[in-house]
């Protein structure tokens, strides 16, 4: 098992280094640089040059990259040009929030999808099936940010039940923060449950037609026992991979939902830092997301045998 994990991690090194180089070059190709953003429109050439020297932007690109990489390997991702905060701390703090929203939402979506998908497959072509498939298809068609806006309009502005302004961190008051996260989590849960339900339904339909399900019934087991003990574990395996892929991407920042609900999450941080040309933060964030994506996929692969023992760790 350990050799398998090592091999997988070794395989990710080329991918991650490719990401690191690509990010480094891409952000520098974008017109406008951080010195300009800091000094604003009344900056004269001299102070601009001084600021660039101060930020170390005047060294040749390879030198800048190597120094950044060298620091990164020691866990020091440098400091944000805009706010001067250490990038690593900034990312972790913002990632905490995004992770909270994403983990809760994806867990909820998975639970909804697993049960709805299974029942729809069990009662195939019945009213329940039509309702579940219909709902999933409609949810797939609704843009997540529009759903967010509608929820904000309804619960935030019109009814005023939920706060949606000035994110109050947990330290302030857990209740307020929790209330604040309700709508983003609800939006994400609804949008993610669509695709997961369809996947779970189709894999459940395939499993229901296999002999061991009829065999289980032939043993005299109740439908509930057949569904939970025999159908669910085998049908859930492919859905789990999809959950892994979704987690990998969403943890990379749900920028648009964070924009709608003004959540200071990782996605928002990345967008703001690209728009402010805050090079260290952008590089730190994108590398962090790539690592998260890789790790999440590895974790999902490792717990795949839980559901499908045939796939033992090679």
């Amino acid at each position: 098992m350990l050799s398998y994990i090592l091999k997988r991690l070794l395989l990710t090194v080329p991918t991650l280094s490719l990401v690191a180089v690509a990010v480094f070059l891409l952000i520098r190709l974008i017109p406008g640089d951080p010195a300009l953003v800091l000094l604003g429109e009344s900056a004269d050439a001299a102070s601009l040059a001084a600021m660039r020297a101060d930020l170390g932007l005047d060294h040749p690109l390879p030198v800048q990259f190597l120094s950044w990489l060298q620091h990164a390997l020691h866990g020091d991702l440098g400091r944000s040009i805009v706010s001067g905060e250490p990038v690593a701390a900034l990312i972790l703090q913002r990632f905490g929030l995004t992770a909270a929203v994403v983990l809760v939402a994806v867990t909820a979506a998975t639970v909804i999808a697993a049960s709805a998908g299974l029942i729809a497959a069990w009662r195939r072509n019945s009213a329940v099936d039509l309702a579940v498939v219909g709902a999933a298809t409609v949810v797939l068609a609704i843009p997540s940010f529009w759903l967010g806006m509608v929820l904000l309009l309804l619960f935030g502005l019109k009814l005023g039940w939920l706060p949606f302004v000035g994110y109050i961190p947990f330290s302030e008051s857990a209740v307020q923060a929790m209330l604040f996260l309700v709508m983003p989590v609800m939006t994400l849960t609804i949008t993610e449950s669509g695709v997961l339900t369809r996947m779970m339904r189709s894999s459940s339909i395939d499993v229901l037609q296999l002999d061991y399900v009829t065999h289980a019934r032939a043993k005299g087991l109740s439908e509930r026992a057949v569904l939970t003990r025999h159908v669910f574990p085998n049908a859930f395996a492919p859905t789990l991979t999809l959950v892994g892929l979704t987690l990998g991407h969403l943890l990379g920042g749900i920028a648009v939902i964070e924009t709608v609900f003004t959540l200071p999450g990782l996605g928002r941080l990345m967008v703001d830092s690209v728009l402010a040309r805050d090079y260290p933060v952008v590089q730190g964030c994108l590398l962090f997301t790539a690592v998260v994506y890789v790790v999440v996929n590895l974790v999902v692969d490792l717990c795949y045998p839980l559901f499908d023992p045939r796939v033992t760790a090679r």
């Binding site: 061991y212 009829t214 032939a218 043993k219 003990r229």
Partner: protein
Amino acid sequence: MIAAVATPLLRFAGVRIEAVGRARAGSPPLLDDLSFDVAPGEFVAVVGESGSGKTLAARSILNLLPEGVRRVAGRIELEGRDLTQLSGPDIRKVRGAQIGMVFQEPMVSLNPAMTIGRQLAEGLQLHRQWSSEEIRRQSVTMLERVRITNPLRCLSAYPHEFSGGMRQRIMLAAVLLLKPKLLIADEPTTALDTLSQREVLELLVELAHDDGAAVLLITHDLGLVARYTERAIVLEKGRLMEAGSTRQILTDPRNPYTQRLVASLPRCDAAGTAAPASAPIVVEVRNACIEYPGRPGLWGAGTPTQVVHGVDLDVRSGEIVAIVGASGSGKTTLGRAILDLKPLAAGSIRFDGIDLAQMTAAQRKQFRRAAQLVFQDPYSSLNPRMRVRDIVAATLRHAHLDAADRAARVEAVLAQVGLASFGDRFPHQMSGGQRQRVAIARAVVSRPRLVVADEPVSALDMTIQQQVLALFRKLQAQYGFACLFITHDLAVVRQIAARVVVMSGGVVVEEGPVPSVFSDPRHKYTRELLAATPALEAAALMG
């Protein structure tokens, strides 16, 4: 006093099953007015080809019909009690406790995500209030009865760790643990090779006799009916054709369909056409050794595994040579090597005197037309996106024929295989037998000198198998190509080949003309194979 007629264990009375749903309303019933009895402890076979409704009949007993199919009339009585009127919970009490069922596909008959121990225990926990220790002990003894080595380890193992034969035996154990009065076996061994087929069936019969359980064997293989059952019920397209004792059905079938079914059993005297000694040798295999590259590790290729070593073989034109052996004996790999689709590790293969390894590009192009392959799986060997006419014409693409010639050739060969009007159809619009004819047409249209047929009929029903083999012999007689016929079924060898080569573990263990090898097999393995082929025994029974 007339001995009270013992109430039958199982009684079908006028059972009718129909498909549900808008699209197929009004289509003929899947099972119409089926009535028969099974006495306690009796072994009854329900025989029929695919689509005859035999599986539906079996599944309707425990009301396990697939979605979209419903029993619309008739009664099914177990010891006089009508199962069709039972409510959900009541029928569940019958399932497993009084009637057990064994299925066809070993790969999916056990839940891959659950240990064998738990699957065995599940039925017991439901119907017997035994302690887990008691259940464990009973499971171990039953696993020993079905000859599973190291039953303790087996309890905590997963299904994928066992071979097809072992899994069927485990399933048998799971069902028989509950001592059911009736055991329904729905084609339990169709997916197994000849040797494990015999083991499983022998075990099933022995254990059922010990427990006094009746067995309802659902099969399409008359050989099994002959060897293992006392009475047989013949079904065709959902209707009862004939019922009676196995001997009467085999020796004196009254119904025309049954007669056709029995005729499809191989005759002992049938023999393949032997080629005259003077016929030219098309394929000459000398000391052929073939290896599979090992799994590529992170650093360089792994250690290769020997699959075929030191095989000598000659095939003359106009002759059919059969290569027979269990799966993994290397027969398919040898066939591929002869068609230059697999490189040789050592030794040589010469085609019309030219060594395959030294062929020039022109010779290779010519060789490609002169040597053709017919595959086993009719569903996988035809491109689903092409029409039949184009599939057959594909082999002529490189022949220097103009379009009209080519089209005429294709139409002619299609007519020969009995598919004259099928040119425009797609593969998925045809049955298994028809597809295999297309595959054969594709192989012979370029008038090859050699045809390698890799298990061409093993996926087909008996009667269809008969027709395809007859077609093969007719085409060979007409075109005179040399034919290498790879199969695991000695009954087929009996009907098609003149010479037979028996392979086991990548080595030729015995070789010779079919009549002599069949009458006094010299090698132990050949003897086992012959003994394990029921169809031959039935033929003997019929004299």
